[in-house]
């Protein structure tokens, strides 16, 4: 399956946007960990913004970063939102509320608890009625999300946003799901090449094999500490405008061979 990547959005400690991260991903500047600020989604109406959780803010942050220099018709874009665990802080709050005698779950907490909360807010913010889906494949979430979005893009012939993100669970969930840093990434996929295209991807399933590590040594630990950060080796190739082949390993899915060809 062949698709084109037209734009990228990124947010992780020390990699606060795609543009800011480029020198680090290219190996030109040393990586320095720095916590992300709380993000204010630009496209959300004030009322919805007030209710947006940290997870929804992360999804908006990477989608809005991707759109920053790309005047695409967002209402036409399909979307795939992929998160391994969804909104851990909200799940924690609801489960704590259910331990109290009154069991008072707030309506806002409840509608924020659905796995497709970011997709819902995104559709409200952008006015897009194009199809969107929300998925998880646990630690395979990046590879599975890429395949889901590429299939949607190729079969429906629609520009497709893929957003992959996970945030740190609070304790006591953190000890059962040890994701140690926040990471979000977004790609704008297109079925056809254009002047905006950054790279062509060819995706092929393969037998189980080890995943390709990050080229920047300091980012390899990050790659393994959040399912969305499995995207780092691909981000490095795109940032370096480098042709290459990488493997996305998985537990429940076939390994995916990703062949990256920079666009002129």
């Amino acid at each position: 399956m062949k698709i084109f990547i037209d734009a990228v959005g990124l947010a992780a400690p020390g990699l606060s946007s795609w543009t800011e991260a480029l020198p680090v991903l290219r190996g030109e500047q040393a990586y320095e960990a720095q916590e992300l600020d709380r993000y204010k989604p630009e496209q959300l109406p004030a009322n919805e913004r007030r209710r947006a959780t940290d997870l929804v803010r992360m999804a908006f942050r990477v989608c809005e970063d991707l759109l920053r220099d790309n005047p695409v018709s967002i209402r036409r874009c399909a979307a795939v939102f992929a998160s391994s665990g969804g909104d851990y802080p909200i799940i924690d709050q609801i489960c704590k509320a259910l331990c109290e005698p009154e069991r008072l779950v707030s309506p806002t907490q409840f509608h924020n608890s659905v796995h497709n909360s970011a997709a819902g807010y995104w559709s409200i913010a952008t006015g897009s009625r194009a199809p969107s889906t929300s998925i998880s494949a646990f630690d395979d979430t990046f590879a599975a999300g890429l395949l889901e979005a590429a299939s949607l893009c190729a079969i429906e012939q629609l520009p497709t946003i893929l957003a992959v993100y996970d945030i740190k669970p609070p304790e006591p969930l953190q000890s059962k799901r040890p994701i140690t840093l926040d990471f979000g990434v977004a790609f704008l996929l297109s079925p056809v090449e254009s002047t905006r295209s950054l790279a062509q991807l060819t995706l092929t399933p393969a037998a189980l094999a080890a995943g390709t590590p990050a080229q920047v040594e300091a980012l390899e630990a990050m790659r393994l500490s959040n399912p969305a950060a499995r995207s780092l080796p691909l981000l490095e190739l795109i940032a370096r405008r480098q042709a290459g082949q990488l493997l996305l390993d998985a537990n429940n899915n076939p390994t995916t061979i990703v062949e990256v060809t920079p666009c002129p």
Binding site: G120, R129, A154
Partner: protein, 396 residues
């Protein structure tokens, strides 16, 4: 907006387990008799919610295969119970052997997966969760897809789709695309959602839970009854099957997180796209299985959209009066009812409908209708404005 047509996919086997019973025959028997599976809420230790639920019998007596013991939670026990009905497990395993494990994908819809296990863990020790609690294999959204894949021995693409109440309708669209792009040659699709405190108290907080058995489309409807269910279907590229997936349509409402678009614009777009994918005009549809949750807002919006496309020409009913709203499993359960309707040439009644809302200009049957049923449209609409319609039936 999605355009273009699709190549129909054969549905070579399917099964469902709801509060009506385990398997197709037990479910259809209750549909024919007009007997609901709903009962006053007695789930877990709940004593302060005055509502009705659709609980599947025997879930807690299910023993998972020993190698999958870590997956033990209510949701996966329900998945295991549902997999074993109608010979589905054996047929799926046979298909996996014939195609090769890595050529068969697994696409499972769920809204809350095994969240009840986390609720139990917090109730037991909310500061440091107990050793018996395994987040990954029970609560995580993907756990049920992981469980089904391992229980069947498939090794192809595997995802959980979680778009609230449209989850297990959208699995058909994802599986179709994965098969069309060559990621797999066959797919097991399904949906499993089980009762839990989060949804019972959560929908209660939104004032969407009915104190009575749900009465979709009635002028005195007062909300949903929450149910649980599991169901699965086997999709193949075979051309000679009678039951096929002919079309799918997905859309967003772009309106509100927990209320549908009041004019049903997103719903209309999903239905139009599904018909376009199938290459069918609306008058080819013999029966519409409505989302029909029983809330004021959902039924009003859905009836407007259906009236625009079908008027009062096509029988349209909600089967949630029988099963309750099975949330992430509603898509597969109602697809299965659509397929059963074709097999039995029977349009189910809209159960508990006494006085149809006079503002609804659609053909709601108060009693079952025996007539030829060749093509069915099934609607599933979820929180966040996530809509999916399916067209099922004989090849065009």
């Amino acid at each position: 907006m999605i355009s273009g047509s699709m190549t129909p996919l054969a549905i070579t086997d399917y099964t469902l387990t709801t509060c009506l019973g385990a398997g197709r025959a037990a479910n259809w028997d209750k549909i024919e008799r007009g007997e609901t599976g709903l009962k006053p809420c007695d789930f877990f230790d709940i004593s302060d919610l005055s509502t009705w639920i659709g609980e599947v019998a025997g879930v807690d007596q299910q023993a998972l295969p020993a190698s999958l013991a870590a997956y033990n939670c209510r949701n996966n026990r329900l998945a295991w119970l549902a997999l074993q009905q109608d010979g589905f497990l054996d047929n799926a395993v046979r298909a996996i052997e014939s195609y090769g494990a890595d050529r068969v994908g697994v696409f499972i819809g769920t809204s809350t997966s095994g969240i009840h296990q986390t609720e139990l863990a917090y109730l037991a020790a909310r500061n440091q969760l107990p050793d018996w609690y395994h987040y990954r294999s029970t609560h995580n959204v993907f756990s049920v897809a992981d469980f089904v894949q391992q229980a069947l021995g498939a090794r192809g693409p595997c995802i959980a789709i979680s778009t609230a109440c449209s989850s297990s309708a959208k699995v058909f669209a994802s599986a179709y695309r994965a098969m069309a792009t060559g990621l797999c040659d066959a797919a097991i699709v399904g949906g499993v959602d089980s009762l839990c405190l989060t949804t019972l108290y959560g929908f209660h907080s939104l004032q969407l839970v009915s104190p009575d058995k749900c009465k979709p489309f009635d002028r005195e409807r007062s909300g949903i009854s929450i149910g649980e269910a599991g169901g699965f279907a086997l999709l193949e590229k075979t051309e000679d099957a009678r039951l096929m997936l002919l079309g799918y349509g997905e859309s967003g409402d772009a309106y509100h997180m927990s209320s549908p678009h009041p004019e049903g614009e997103g719903a209309l777009q999903a239905m139009q796209t599904a018909l376009a994918k199938a290459g069918l005009a609306s008058d080819s549809i013999d029966y519409i299985n409505l989302h029909g949750t029983g809330t004021m807002a959902n039924d009003a919006a859905e009836s407007k959209a259906v009236a625009q496309l079908f008027g009062e020409r096509t029988w349209a009913s909600s089967t949630k009066g029988w099963t309750g709203h099975t949330l992430g499993a509603a898509g597969i359960v109602e697809a299965a009812f659509g397929l059963l309707s074709i097999t039995h040439n029977l349009v189910p009644a809209s159960l508990h409908l006494q006085q149809p809302d006079p503002d609804m200009h659609i053909a709601l049957p108060r009693a079952a209708v025996q007539q030829p049923v060749r093509k069915v449209l099934s609607n599933s609409f979820g929180f966040g404005g996530s809509n999916c319609s399916l067209v099922l039936g004989e090849r065009v």
